[in-house]
């Protein structure tokens, strides 16, 4: 069942140096109980996409459609979006310390959010806070609820933020690099927690990350973004087994593998990610693309390519992907 349907999403900002087209024409859907991984490098538009979905981009021009459980969010009254945000759509950020208020205890913050959305009594909200802290694996939740964010370790703070996100029983969690600041052993705990909660509650999850390992561990479907556009989209198994966009292939080839012995040399992608102020014409990846370097195909520098279906549930934006549909 489709929980979130994003169609032709675009986000533009006016800056002193000109218009930044951070996202152009991105489509995706998130089903209940499934995880969509959005992967990309800096400037790919992955985080801007999530903020736009949450209606958290003031001052940006947002186009396209974002439908959450049948309700259109783009252009909807602020009150409608505000009521969904936090209640049915929750967000988990990379940096829990900036997402949590330093002056209030963890328990108070969770209780307050619950009261705001559910109109519960103080006592019931307080109990709810302790319960969700326990759910996310915080030991002695009743005591820890009375502590402030700075008294929590990095991993515990991230859990507390997930508890805050879960307290209102959302249907969808948008997690933007939720484990990037964590040590790898703690990251494993937090990812396991998210997956367990998903199983128990049928949550839809959007996992935004630069880490292809995290994507491989948690995602059912993957959207690869580059320069503000979708490069490739496929079920996770297919994407890793048969990457078709030269950027996806380049990304996987440039990754050192933990399980590779005396590996061959890493095949780096030359150049740097494009500037969003002055993006290259046509396919944003063409200046770094080995296929373009070889073939100099004018299609690569024409219109910006959109995703096309190249296989079962597999979509690729590369114009040179030869498919017989």
């Amino acid at each position: 069942m489709t929980l979130l349907q994003v169609t032709d999403l675009s986000v533009e900002f006016d800056t002193a140096e000109g218009v930044v087209r951070a996202v152009r024409g991105v489509d995706f859907t998130v089903e209940r109980g499934r995880t969509l991984g959005i992967v990309g490098e800096s400037g790919s538009g992955k985080s801007v996409t999530s903020l736009a979905v949450m209606g958290l981009h003031r001052g940006a021009r947002i186009g396209g459609s974002v439908r959450f459980d049948g309700t259109e969010l783009i252009g909807a009254p602020e009150e409608t979006v505000r009521r969904l945000r936090g209640r049915r759509i929750a967000m988990v950020f990379q940096d829990a310390l900036t997402a949590l208020h330093p002056y209030f205890t963890i328990g108070d913050q969770i209780a307050e959010a619950y009261r705001e959305h559910h109109g519960a009594s103080r006592k019931a909200a307080r109990k709810r806070a302790v319960d969700v802290l326990g759910d996310v694996g915080i030991p002695e939740p009743a005591r820890r609820a009375g502590e402030y964010p700075h008294e929590f370790s990095g991993g515990m703070r991230q859990r507390a933020m997930i508890a805050l996100a879960l307290s209102c029983e959302p249907d969808l969690i948008i997690a933007d690099e939720p484990t990037t600041a964590l040590d790898v052993t703690v990251q494993a705990q937090v990812l396991d927690l998210l997956m367990r909660l998903q199983q128990d509650r049928g949550l839809g999850i959007v996992m935004i990350t630069h880490d292809l390992g995290v994507i491989a561990r948690v995602a059912d479907d993957v959207l690869v973004m580059y320069g503000g556009s979708a490069a490739e989209q496929a079920p996770a198994d297919r994407l890793f087994a048969d990457p078709r966009h030269p950027y996806t292939r380049g990304l996987l080839d440039s990754l050192p593998r933990l399980d590779a012995g005396d590996a061959t040399e890493l095949r780096a992608i030359p150049g740097s990610p494009p500037s969003l102020l002055a993006p290259p014409a046509g396919c944003a990846f063409h200046p770094r693309c080995p296929v373009y370097a070889r073939e100099r195909n004018p299609l690569c520098t024409g219109d910006r390519p959109a995703l096309r279906q190249v296989g079962d549930a597999h979509h690729n934006a590369c114009v040179l992907d030869e498919v017989t549909p």
């Binding site: 490098e41 800096s42 370790s153 990095g154 991993g155 515990m156 040590d183 790898v184 052993t185 703690v186 990251q187 494993a188 705990q189 990812l191 396991d192 630069h210 880490d211 292809l212 390992g213 995290v214 994507i215 491989a216 561990r217 995602a219 996770a236 198994d237 890793f240 087994a241 380049g250 990304l251 996987l252 440039s254 990754l255 050192p256 593998r257 933990l258 399980d259 590779a260 012995g261 005396d262 590996a263 040399e265 890493l266 095949r267 780096a268 992608i269 030359p270 740097s272 990610p273 770094r288």
Partner: protein, 334 residues
């Protein structure tokens, strides 16, 4: 390239030897006296051979960066000894350290923070050459060669750091570190601030420079896959101590210490099928604070194999593998 490579095996005297190195940061002043300090690094010993890469891995707070800084005397150790080419440099006065300075250099994580924003690339790379009294004409020539060596163009010389991307800025940092043709470069998380596609460029560059110049690296990073790729040998740190050290394939394929094993199993592989098939050891809790380390083996509260002895007795690094170079600090190694 492996440790068996003739280019790295001819010279048996270590380039760098570290013995029982320790760093205790002073504690805050209490009402009556100073509170106990934080032992960030404790009893660390290892050697680096000419032309090899020793990877230093561990999670935040394990003391890997503090160790790196002590190797090049950016921090003065509170215990132990660092010797470079057999010469003890632990207590050498900074003024007398100068002639040696050109022989060991450092590369930092944030390329922009480590480059002076008001200097051109030319000035930045020339600085260490000037400091050692190279003639101006030779400096200009050298700087041009260095810029070419790290894959930048001559027209970049007159630009300022902010005009570069992160990857290019790291190339400038590498050129500066190599200006005096050092024998050892300590690189502290040199690629962790970079995008994945750029990381591979910088790792590839460092590997090429090692082949061409024979420079040895101490490569400090939390990314275990990058460390496996670039290193010949690897040391794993936990709470200020080395818990395992050895040839990289031995450590990665047959980890002897339960912490190494858990750490490796926690790294997600970019391969969904492999991820599903994998046995994962999920450790409980967070790494403890170095300000209040557990008794005995500091890993025991999180260790799936911990016994009574682990709570009381600190295990020392000892040989556990088929080769003498492989050591682990565990009462019950694999």
């Amino acid at each position: 390239m492996t440790t068996g490579d003739p280019a790295t095996a001819v010279d048996d005297t270590p380039l760098l030897r570290v013995e029982d190195l320790g760093m205790t940061f002073p504690g805050p002043r209490g009402a009556v006296r100073r509170l106990p300090g934080v032992r960030a690094v404790d009893g660390v010993s290892f050697a680096v051979r000419p032309g090899e890469t020793l990877g230093l891995v561990g999670e935040s707070g394990c003391g890997k960066s503090t160790t790196g800084r002590m190797l090049v005397r950016l921090l003065d150790p509170t215990a132990g000894r660092v010797s470079f080419r057999g010469e003890d440099i632990t207590r050498t006065a900074q003024s007398r350290l100068r002639p040696l300075r050109s022989r060991f250099q450092m590369i930092f994580q944030d390329p922009f923070a480590s480059l002076n924003p008001r200097q051109t690339v030319q000035q930045i790379i020339a600085a260490p050459l000037r400091a050692q009294g190279t003639a101006p004409a030779a400096v200009r020539r050298e700087v041009r060669d260095l810029v070419d060596l790290v894959g930048l163009a001559p027209e970049h010389l007159e630009r300022y750091p902010h005009q570069f991307s992160g990857g290019q800025a790291q190339r400038i940092g590498i050129a500066r570190a190599l200006a005096t043709r050092p024998e050892l470069v300590v690189a502290d998380e040199p690629v962790s601030a970079l995008d994945v596609s750029i990381q591979a460029q910088i790792v590839g560059l460092m590997e090429r420079l090692q082949r061409e110049l024979g420079v040895a690296y101490v490569f400090i990073a939390h990314d275990l896959a990058v460390v496996r790729h670039i290193s010949h040998r690897v040391a794993v740190m936990y709470l200020g101590r080395i818990v395992e050290i050895g040839e990289k394939n031995e450590v990665y394929e047959r980890p002897a210490h339960p912490y190494t094993k858990a750490l490796l199993s926690a790294v997600p592989l970019p391969d969904p099928a492999a991820e599903r098939a994998r046995e994962r050891i999920v450790l409980l809790g967070d790494p403890p604070s170095p300000a209040n380390p557990p008794s005995g083996c500091t890993f025991h509260p999180r260790c799936p194999k911990a016994q009574e002895i682990c709570r009381t007795e600190r295990p020392l690094l000892r040989i556990t593998g088929p080769t003498a170079g492989r050591q682990a600090a565990c009462h019950f190694p694999e």
